[in-house]
């Protein structure tokens, strides 16, 4: 449906985009995830038509968008600050795109009512945006973008302006709306939880390139490189060398691990902290010496900060009531070989 190929964009001498490519299928929700400055917003603005790429192409449903002006692209856009028109009622905001398309009044009103129902703001069409809460404004922005029945929906950090609790509720709701309308959607976000919760596939960006695109499970469990591994969730990253049947860390620890699925010159070992166990090793388990850096009480769990071979501490969540080793204590962690993954340092 959407194909973005080899976008480059230079601001002065710095590359904002350095050959970024991604795609999204019909009705698919793709999240563009990355740290600030990675080029995800530039990508979104180029797809929307507000910036131009130095090279590369964008096609939507087989049609080349690259030279099309933004108002002719049929793309619904939800801005981070919602960008509602303050002097118009909620209904007029939602109807704006329909007016520009010269949709007759009766149809327009029916569509506005339908959109208000969709975002659960039934009956609030006469209000001004300023009279709504942040979450409601966000939904108006979504309804306004969807009213024109766009071929592609773009969401720019859709939930970042909301407080944590509301964000969670709206995440669920947004996911339901997106799956109901079945519009191909591109979400730009720096929040990995948001990306995981909303997207069918996640494209991880860094330094103007898409490093990996895959389902949340794929990118979390089979990251293409160290950056992706460490950007998503917590990661214990050990340097060393891959050998037959396993991995030898620079400190000399031998760990059994399945062979790498990717060929790369330099490789490291990734272990997600939730795979680390404090109990006695079972037969076949890897044993990993570690030191306790400290612990942090978090109510539902206590986080045990562990240092392995001089790495930055990783936090292991312990259920309430677990015995807590003293800070400074040495211990041996057990980890199943299947949870040890040999990953390329650089994306191929």
């Amino acid at each position: 449906m959407l194909e973005v190929q080899n976008l480059t964009r230079r601001f002065g001498s710095a590359f904002a985009l350095d050959g970024a490519s991604l795609d999204a299928g019909a009705a698919e929700v793709v999240a563009l995830l990355g740290p600030s400055g990675c080029g995800k917003t530039t990508t979104l603005r180029i797809v929307a038509g507000f910036e131009s790429a130095d090279s590369g192409s964008i096609t939507l449903g087989g049609r080349d968008l690259t030279r099309l002006p933004p108002h002719a692209r049929d793309i619904g856009l939800v801005f981070q600050d919602y960008a509602l028109f303050p002097h118009m009622s909620v209904g007029d905001n939602i109807a704006y795109g329909l007016r520009r398309r010269a949709i007759p009044r009766a149809q327009r009103e029916a569509r506005v009512a339908e959109m208000l129902d969709l975002v659960r703001l039934t009956g609030l069409g006469a209000r001004r945006p300023a009279q709504l809460s942040g979450g409601q404004q966000q939904r108006v922005a979504l309804a306004r973008a969807l009213a024109i029945n766009p071929r592609l929906l773009l969401l720019d950090e859709p939930l970042s302006n909301l407080d944590a609790k509301l964000r969670h509720t709206l995440q669920t709701e947004l996911r339901q709306i997106l799956s109901r309308i079945g519009t191909t959607t591109l979400i730009v976000t720096h929040d990995q939880e948001e990306a995981m919760a909303l997207a069918d596939r996640i494209a991880i960006m860094s330094a103007g390139r898409v490093l990996q695109i895959g389902t949340p499970r794929e990118v979390y469990e089979e990251p293409a490189c160290r950056f992706v591994a460490e950007f998503l969730g917590q990661a214990l990253w050990l340097e060393g060398r891959a050998g037959p049947g396993g991995f030898t860390t620079t400190a000399g620890t031998q760990l059994a691990a399945p062979p790498s699925r990717r060929v790369a010159a330099a490789q490291g070992l990734l272990i997600r902290p939730e795979a680390l166990r404090l109990d006695a090793p079972r037969p076949g388990d890897n044993a990993l010496p570690a030191q306790v850096a400290g612990h942090r009480y978090r109510g539902a769990a206590t986080l045990l900060d562990l240092m392995v071979e001089g790495t930055a501490p990783v936090a292991l969540a312990l259920p309430p009531g677990s015995p807590l080793p003293e800070p400074g204590a040495s211990l041996t962690l057990a980890v199943a070989p299947a949870a040890c993954r040999i990953i390329p340092v650089e994306a191929g």
């Binding site: 038509g49 108002h71 600050d81 960008a83 704006y96 795109g97």
Partner: protein, 273 residues
């Protein structure tokens, strides 16, 4: 000791404020009172008898009446043009992609800092070179130049709340750039447009220096007619005209205060941020 000093300082400050207020208001009041003087000559203050004779003299003096008509026409035409240009200019300056925005804004606002005498003289030479000799056209050009910074500034100030994302939202929904500005920015700028237009009219109405250069004996604005008349024969018609002038300006300001607020007006016009 310190308390006494504080008290002295405070008293002094209050006296200064009082003096300033008196200095601003007393001349106006004197002129106002004199305009009702019944004597046919400039006599000792205060007048002993009051009448409307100078107002009758004003109403029957064709120089003043023509001047008033010219001033009103000029004010309306200049305000209309300056407001239109100022609004378009402000909308253009709003676009973050516009290169050299600060420099352009400075150019737009520069007539505010150039002495009006210089503007008047330059325009006289310039219009002569262009072959424009019609005094009304010349006056309109001059008044547009001096009022444009005020209309631009007023509209710019009212556009501060408009975010680029709102314009882009309208565009993504199918509006052309111009349409998006019309639908999103112009409604927000309405108060600035009204304030700028009113300010332009008031400024044009009591402008002297530029008009002095650009008018001729047959096309005089009211202030120019006043100056000419004062030189020719000094009498209290001038006081009557001044009072009418003052009343008209106050009325307009009052009207503006009711509609958009005087702070906004003063802020838009006074501030060069």
């Amino acid at each position: 000791m310190k308390v006494a000093l504080d008290l002295a300082a405070r008293t002094l400050a209050r006296l200064a404020v009082l003096a300033a207020v008196l200095f601003l208001l007393v001349p106006l009041l004197v002129a106002c009172l004199l305009s009702f003087d019944d004597r046919s000559f400039l006599g000792a203050f205060p007048p002993q008898q009051f009448s409307l004779r100078w107002y009758r003299a004003f109403a029957s003096n064709p120089t003043y009446l023509d001047g008033l008509l010219i001033s009103l026409q000029l004010g309306l035409v200049a305000a209309l043009i300056a407001t239109t240009l100022g609004t378009l200019g402000a909308l253009a300056l709003m676009d973050p992609r516009l290169a050299g925005r600060d420099a352009l804004e400075a150019v737009f606002l520069s007539p505010k800092f150039v002495p009006t005498v210089v503007i008047g003289f330059s325009l006289l030479v310039f219009t002569a070179r262009l072959g424009i000799f019609d005094p009304f056209t010349r006056l309109v050009m001059g008044h547009v130049v001096i009022t444009l910074p005020f209309t631009l500034r007023a509209v710019l100030a009212s556009l501060i709340g408009v975010k680029r994302s709102q314009i882009e939202a309208a565009i993504s929904l199918g509006a052309s750039e111009a349409r998006a500005l019309w639908d999103v920015a112009v409604p927000a700028a309405r108060s600035g447009i009204v304030a700028g237009a009113a300010m332009a009219f008031v400024l044009s109405f009591d402008e002297v220096a530029v008009s002095l250069f650009l008018s001729d004996a047959f096309t005089q604005t009211l202030p120019i007619a006043l100056v000419a008349e004062m030189r020719a024969n000094l009498n209290l018609t001038i006081a009557a005209v001044s009072t009418v002038f003052l009343a008209a300006t106050l009325l307009l300001l009052l009207l503006l205060d009711r509609t958009i607020g005087i702070e906004r007006l003063a802020g838009d016009v006074g501030a060069r941020g």
